[in-house]
Symmetry: C2
DNA sequence: GGCTAAGGACGGACCTTCACACCTCTAGGG
DNA sequence: CCCTAGAGGTGTGAAGGTCCGTCCTTAGCC
């Protein structure tokens, strides 16, 4: 009977690998370091920004103050934060950001998995944004495109606006989970993207895609927006494929 | 100068809410219960399936045996597993599966967030599958569509094949993370979907969409596949919107 | 009857997290 | 000049989760 065939096909090792794959539960300390660290490195928290007071922040994060302090100490030692005591003091995002360290060998070897995942996340979010994004959000995205247009010669600045653009896209869906997925994805991509040369002409062409994307979203044309995003992600992927081992 | 506008827009509370949102790390025990529990409830592990031996499984999961045993005990008490001792024994997926409990009030109130997230995940995965899915995977998906065609009158059986279809879709991308995202999403949706009536005519029309989707994937037509998937998810969403508080 | 592979049970060591109380610093007001 | 409010900095002990190693019990097979 042919009806048993699919059962066999889908009891394939792939599913089992996923079900039985390692369940690494990060500690609250580790997760806090990672959360705040990527937010800072991605520019979601700008240099000079003052974090909420420890006693307040630990409540927002749902952890004990001592645990939070472990994380803050680690980030301070890494040069991402600095604390000042006394009245009017607080914990601030460090002003001279430490240079971004080169991506780990592990990230580089997994680059295709990361990039594939990014494609799915970006396209999925764009599809949802096409029906959910409000006018305010779209205006913000358009303003960012204009800003990037003026940053073509300064890659670090451009890249930062680029991150804000993609995160803003996720925000426009109104889904906190999707924003989290996007920040996590962008965090992983940052290391890889830093490996690539970015002459202004390339950035200009990329930004043209951004503009077309916003236009498609404004027109509520989900399929077109998805196609534009897919093209852009694939373009980056092709460049990476030329630079890195095929993984 | 207008260039400062986007900064203001994107330092919006939304991002901060995400960065400073609670970081509740599940314990290894909890995560294991959830992982195995959803795999069983979704039918990824069929009744009668024998799990790997404890000493082997705890290594695969990267946890201590005592922790694993806590999880297995919890699942046994929940009626999802049963263990038999002695040589040739083992831990098996229970044969008469306990009835699915009604979805929690918390899930019902968040249904729109869940459904939005699902749209993004499904569309993103389909977009990637359109360029990655191999012939074997596509054959498997087509076989599942045929199977579902014969299960229109038996909703539980249909739904199980439906889950396998969507998970198979994720598998066809070759990305473990996306398979994990899909299983998690399907796990959340199951409770909501069980609230809806499913006359055979509705299932037949849904399955027609499945078939068109596979055709689009076979033709490597990503945009079309994404559109079909978006339509289908939205259809479910509209039904839910009619049943549940607007959330 | 013994061997063996499986689940079942226990106890101690280690680390994380937590709550609570207390100390130190510093800008700004009286 | 002092004093106070608000911020970070410190210490301690309890509680709980996780791990590891060890041993016990069951039951099929030679």
């Amino acid at each position: 009977m042919t009806s048993s065939a699919p059962d066999i096909v889908f009891t394939a090792p792939v599913t089992e690998d996923v079900v039985f794959s390692p369940v690494r539960s990060q500690t609250a300390f580790e997760e806090t370091v990672e959360r705040l660290g990527t937010a800072i490195r991605l520019g979601l928290l700008l240099p000079g920004t003052r974090l909420p007071a420890e006693r307040e922040l630990c409540m927002k994060l749902g952890i004990a103050r001592s645990t939070l302090r472990q994380a803050l100490t680690a980030l301070s030692q890494g040069g991402l934060l600095h604390a000042s005591r006394g009245r009017g003091g607080g914990t601030f995002v460090a002003d001279p950001q430490p240079p971004t360290e080169p991506p780990s060998a592990e990230l580089v070897s997994n680059w295709r998995e990361v990039s594939d995942c990014r494609l799915a996340v970006e396209v999925g979010i764009v599809a949802l944004a096409a029906e959910r994004a409000g006018d305010t959000a779209l205006d913000g995205l358009a303003a960012l495109v204009d800003l990037m247009e003026r940053q073509l010669a300064d890659f670090p600045a451009y890249r930062q606006s680029d991150v804000l653009f993609h995160v803003g896209l996720a925000e426009s869906t109104g889904s906190q989970r999707l924003v989290a997925a996007m920040t996590s994805t962008q965090g992983e991509m940052t290391g890889l993207i830093s490996l690539i040369m970015h002459p202004p002409e390339v950035l200009r062409s990329a930004n043209r895609q951004h503009r077309r994307l916003v236009e498609a979203l404004t027109a509520r044309d989900g399929p077109r927006a998805a196609r534009i995003m897919a093209e852009q992600v694939r373009a980056t992927e092709h460049v990476l494929a030329g630079l890195l081992p095929s993984g």
